[in-house]
Assembly symmetry: D2
């Protein structure tokens, strides 16, 4: 019944799948590896076949998730370790080392919860122009790194994917790295997860609901996506509360047939949507989101800088 | 059963009272006036006695609420009209025209949802220093307006009320006007309500949960508070969804005794709190909150500037 | 002797020419019109031939200058009138009304004196996406307006002209409007002049010293440039002070042959450059530049919005 | 003839004195120590008597100057070393360790060149409220650190010294540390010098020209001032260029009596002031000032945090 609930995290699709099947079984066409490094938990979900695609509702590809500590409990070493692991996983996603990459920061700088991408861009060490105009000032074998925050369609009038394609056609990088703020399925994941994948950015994902995607098919070069969940939808919060609530009643033997049936129904989504309405697009986000984004952007930018 | 739900809006306490009593009756010790001006609805809740205080869970005083349109449907004239009415209601709250006012912007400039106060301060036309150093450059009979954003305790190490009292003791204004971002009880109120009251700021109110209040008792001069709800608590959203959900089941004759009883229970709050937990302080806020605060601060600042 | 002094303003090249020739004579190949509208002085310098190009050190084209009042003495009406005149002059520079324009904000948002372009972009009313996805929500015959701030090479690793060309190739607008902060020749012009021209942006102009230009030749569509001087170079200030100083001595008969000759010399520039050195790029700018840019960007953005 | 030239740096007053006397001699009533630590040069100017006060045009007190490298050539270790030395010199200025300090960030956050103070405040680790409300969460013997940015009179209507005094009367700290952006006498000093002194803040100093000072006399507790020059006045730049220019002519035997006399005159200042005028307050500042302030504020804030 969770099929329609939006999440940008493959790890959550896997949870949803397992929960629906009431099983921790293997998923056909999907491989999962986990690794613990200090207090970072790394989960690699590899979707290998069409069957896996359907099971997890995500395209074939590698999805690496870093579960990280609460930012207020992190030491400077923790932060550095996270950057190092972002760097390491990032490099593993390339079949061969690219000679040039374009880093793209998606999202709206003026909406805090959507500003991760543009803020990371401000901290990327770009080298492409130095290689072109002053190659003697840079180490030999350096990769040409360029970076752009294309803005959002509401502010530019142009799909960000069109802007990116125009620039890619012009400067012809070997690969794209796209940073985006994500919507999570579970509130516990907000600002506590980094997802890196080689399947690109897909329509409707991200806090800002990008209309068109950025994938190898659409831009012609590999697209690595790095995302951090910064919000959950209010509908998700409401949904979860109903779920937990019925659970609780069932455990206490206070449920009834209606409720029991409801938990199995397909039209759950409709019920959910009818519940709360407002004239603004409400999101659920930490009060300290401005602060959290500042920290997260540093870790992600350093991770990318370390990789190249 | 709503007794413990937090709201900073007297108009919502009144709704809660009426809902609990299942009545639109008069509340003892409370007078209510309403007025419609174009598309602004003005409600004046006047708590006159101890009895009224208890009924509405707010101290004696006048609480004026302006219900305003969705900011994306407002014209420039609507915005101006709101400022004018803020100005007008503000002046009505003074027994006699003050000769000097200190405008105080409470809240944390770095947390968007809590930044209304400091942002209003940036737009206040201050005159106190002109009256002191260049009185010839200003109209005679001008009021001495000064303005300060004291920051929040987490950043200054000092209660904002202590900072304010220190400054009041030094410059001795006739009155204080305190601006604060509020928490609402209903999501529909976010950024659609301006509350002006003469009962000051009370502990635990505001997005930032001020620890100590600012009232005539504590600072020795009248304190007018202007607030706009910018968030609701997630617990409130969850609570409401359960409420609506039981309503829906009752209407469809799908409820049961457990649910019916639950709706009357006193320990609702405990149930609610058990539902969702996370390591961050989650709030529910419009995605466009950055934008909305920008507009709101302009209207409030202009309202204050027009008043003096 | 002023030949090598950098200015982005045609009106100043004209002054330099006239001063060098000690004449207010006509300049061959150049037409000049002036008009006074309330307290805005409009000067239209039209460079018509190669001869004019050489005389004024600027390519053939129309250069319109609006001399405006000190921003602290402007009324809201003055500001609106300036926007209206920007709009009017802008439209006159098009041979025929374009059906689509791309507005480009050049410069570095993080360097205040160079941030005019990106800040104007934030305030442009874009329509291109509405025409594409929801044409029913917009007036028929609307122009498709899009807008982008490409950043600076030091931050993106890419020439801003390359980014623009990539986007132009993709979305094929009929014309480009480029906003840039300029360097003036005279301190009196800072924030008191708006220049609009149809000759595009040229290498080495602007506060940020764009390396490559944006002109009809390079992008294939007409390029209208709107610029406001926000700085003068320190060398210019030093140069002027020497100039004024020799003048003063000459008037008081306290000069000598050395000084008199110096004023005529060709190698003035070398002398000038030897005078003051430092490790940073010093500029001369108003202390209130942050404030001034905020006002200017509003006037320019509104001017563009009114035009389309 | 330099007597009237404004500088906030004691080290520059000393240079001016020595230059005027054409001597590197000792100055009566003044002791000077220098020390080189890696690439930081520390100069301690100690004004001991009235005679010293008059010679250097600064009140009795200790003035420590750290000359630091160009920020673009600094390593992370250099930055840390500067913070450590700020911390060390700061502690040496206290006769005995204070139990509580209030850190004050003077200046206008919205004017980049004047924003050092408020930006440092954002990065101070405040502890006073933890000691008061949760002393178990902090090490025993911790100093109570609080911090405030009082804003500028043009925005608050109140002298920042009055705000500070009000707060000092209320919370009674043992000492004040005041951060301010300074005006330097020589362009080479901009962003390359940190001055720490125990003589407080004096009227007319700072980029923002504070009207009233903050000294032990006015607030009743010791006041340590930390300042970094971020601008020079344009008049200073012009003045220097004339000076250098006459020097150059003298060396080449191209000067004349007028010029030679001019260099000795008392009314130099009048000449200087007549040279260039404008309607805005022009300053000379690095183009990259926004960036430089970000770095500087980190070093100063860390220096203060290390000290307590």
């Amino acid at each position: 019944m969770y099929k329609n609930i939006r999440t940008d995290l493959a790890i959550e699709n896997r949870e949803i799948y397992n929960q629906a099947k009431n099983a921790e079984d293997e998923i056909p066409g999907v491989k999962v590896e986990t690794e613990q490094k200090n207090n970072i938990k790394i989960t690699r979900v590899i979707i290998e076949t069409k069957e896996g695609e359907e099971a997890l509702n995500k395209p074939v590809g590698r999805y690496i998730t870093l579960d990280i500590p609460n930012i207020y409990e992190m030491t400077a070493e923790d932060e550095y370790l996270i950057s190092e692991n972002i760097s390491k996983e990032l490099k593993l996603l390339f079949d061969k080392k690219p000679e040039s990459v374009l880093v793209v920061g998606l999202g709206n700088e003026n909406i805090t919860a959507d500003s991760l991408g543009p803020k990371v861009i401000d901290n990327i060490d770009v080298t492409r122009h130095i290689l072109e105009y002053a190659p003697e000032e840079i180490e030999p074998n350096s990769i040409a790194v360029s970076a752009i925050a294309p803005g959002v369609m509401g502010m530019t009038g142009i799909e960000s994917s069109e802007i990116i394609k125009g620039i890619v056609d012009k400067i012809k990088p070997d690969a794209l790295i796209a940073i985006d703020a994500l919507a999570a399925r579970r509130v516990e994941r907000i600002n506590k997860t980094v997802q890196i994948s080689n399947s690109g950015i897909h329509p409707g994902s991200g806090v800002g609901n990008r209309r068109k995607g950025l994938t190898q098919q659409t831009v012609g070069i590999p697209v690595i996506a790095i995302g951090i969940p910064t919000v959950v939808e209010t509908a998700v919060l409401v949904n979860d509360s109903l779920e937990l609530f019925i659970d609780k009643l069932q455990k206490e033997n206070k449920s009834n047939q209606t409720l029991n049936e409801l938990r199995q129904m397909e039209n759950y989504e409709k019920i959910r949507d009818s519940l709360i309405s407002t004239e603004y697009n409400l999101i659920v986000t930490p009060k300290e989101i401005d602060d959290l984004i500042e920290n997260m952007k540093d870790m992600v930018a350093r991770g990318i800088n370390l990789a190249f």
